[in-house]
């Protein structure tokens, strides 16, 4: 009985304090166990304007539940543990800074890619950042047609003093 109470107490304490720090991969650690996915704009009902403004991006959590505490959001790509590690509907992933987080499996998808190509990406470290290089034929786009950026907004912010 005491053991059960102790476990519940620790769980409550974790909830109160926001949980332990996220596990972080140390720079230089092997990255071969991760692969590029992207957020699923269709499932999230995102428009290019939403994406431009950063609205509606899915949260990334410290553990495989919403109660574990939020690490931030994912704008894509999403570096998923490969093969996919699923728990409680969440998929384990790596953030740009090496933090290991969890994202709902219902809001991510494989990368779009040219027919016949393998797709995917290769990850590497650049200092403390996890950097991705798309494999031939793979697309980093959020939207299938590649129209991620509203042209008018992009042109408004094009260089004015070249």
């Amino acid at each position: 009985m005491y053991t059960v109470r102790l476990r519940v107490a620790l769980a409550l304490a974790l909830a109160v304090t926001g949980g332990a720090h996220a596990e972080r991969l140390q720079p230089g650690s092997p990255l071969s166990g991760y692969q590029c996915y992207n957020i699923d704009a269709a499932a999230l009902k995102l428009t290019p304007e939403d994406a431009w403004e950063g609205k509606g991006f899915p949260p990334v959590f410290k553990g495989p539940s919403e109660d574990s505490g939020k690490l931030g959001v994912a704008s894509g790509p999403v570096f998923v543990a490969w093969p996919l590690q699923k728990q409680n509907g969440f998929v384990q992933m790596l953030r740009f800074n090496g933090d290991i987080g969890w994202i709902s499996g219902s809001v991510i998808r494989p990368l779009y890619r040219d027919p016949g190509s393998k797709g995917g990406c290769t990850l590497s470290w650049r200092g403390n950042l996890v950097q991705f290089a798309l494999d031939p034929g793979a697309k980093g786009w959020l939207f299938r047609d590649g129209h991620d950026i509203p042209e008018a907004k992009f042109l408004e912010r094009s260089l004015h003093s070249q």
Partner: protein, 292 residues
């Protein structure tokens, strides 16, 4: 008195000893973990920028004369990424042979204007580096308070369009209400560089915070410029991609749109970064945006 009353209530409720032990277990464990969390990541919080530097009017007898720096950005600037890859975003980009900017050019260009020091103060009030703000005006207008041009409605030293300006100046006032009395209100503020500096600083702050929320820590001018130019969806992708990545494959932009920035469908992220480095110099491009 209050504590005693609460204790009395507990006892009157007849909580069993085990119940109280259970409560203290939760409180104790919370305290231990909270203390651990508090000690793990010590952070200096400077919501209003760095403290005012004391400049003695009367020197202490016997001490040598000391000249306080008046330019260079080191006081109001953040730290410079020295190329260790800790967020530089262009670790492999070297300054172009045709580079025209040195590290302090953007900052000096802004400070040379009559409104320069006010703009630097605005940057500090918004918690960003003055050098990072100077980079924006250097990129946009060579730090000249100009009207709109080239079919764009963007105006002022920071070349903001009205909708962006209005949203950002409102955000800036909400972030620091004390600035409300010092800014030019209404649309006239957009053409007042000292006022527009608050809006531009707030925009930079928001872009940098968005990158941090996405896991890119201590974002640099170059990384934040990717956010500004490619938006919150594609910006982090460009900020994180290697120099060799094809910009069109990454962003979906067509040739005509890329041409507006002097780029083509075969241009790489490194080519884009080089346009920024050419304008700002490598040190300014790799300056961190948020004050440390």
């Amino acid at each position: 008195m209050f504590a005693r009353s609460r204790k009395t209530v507990f006892l009157q409720n007849g909580s069993p000893p085990g119940g109280r032990r259970w409560l203290w277990l939760v409180v104790g464990a919370s305290g231990v973990l909270a203390a651990h969390a508090a000690s793990a990541d010590p952070q200096v919080i400077l919501p209003q920028g760095l403290p005012v530097q004391v400049k003695p009017t009367f020197t202490e007898p016997g001490l040598p004369q000391f000249t306080f720096p008046t330019a260079g950005g080191s006081l109001l600037g953040g730290s410079v990424d020295t190329g260790n890859g800790n967020g530089g975003g262009d670790g492999s980009t070297s300054p172009a042979s045709g580079s025209t900017a040195s590290s302090g050019d953007a900052y000096n260009a802004m400070m040379a204007q009559s409104w320069g020091s006010s703009a630097a103060s605005a940057a500090g009030a918004m918690g960003i580096s003055a050098t990072a703000l100077a980079a924006t005006c250097a990129m946009e207008s060579n730090c000249q308070n100009v009207g709109s041009s080239g079919g764009s409605s963007a105006t002022g030293a920071f070349q903001m369009i009205s909708s962006t300006y209005n949203a950002d100046i409102a955000g800036a006032v909400a972030y620091d209400p004390s600035i409300a009395g010092t800014i030019v209100s209404g649309s006239a503020g957009e053409m007042d560089p000292a006022t527009e500096a608050y809006a531009a600083s707030y925009e930079l702050r928001q872009d940098a915070l968005t990158l941090e929320n996405d896991g890119i820590n201590d974002p640099t001018v170059l990384q934040t410029r990717a956010m500004y130019q490619f938006g919150a969806g594609a910006g982090p992708r460009v900020a994180d991609a290697p120099d060799s990545a094809n910009l069109a494959e990454l962003t979906g932009l067509n040739a005509a749109s890329l041409a507006a920035n002097g780029l083509s469908s075969s241009s790489t992220v490194g080519d884009w970064r080089q346009t920024i480095v050419n304008k700002l110099g490598s040190a300014t491009a790799n300056q961190t945006v948020l004050q440390q």
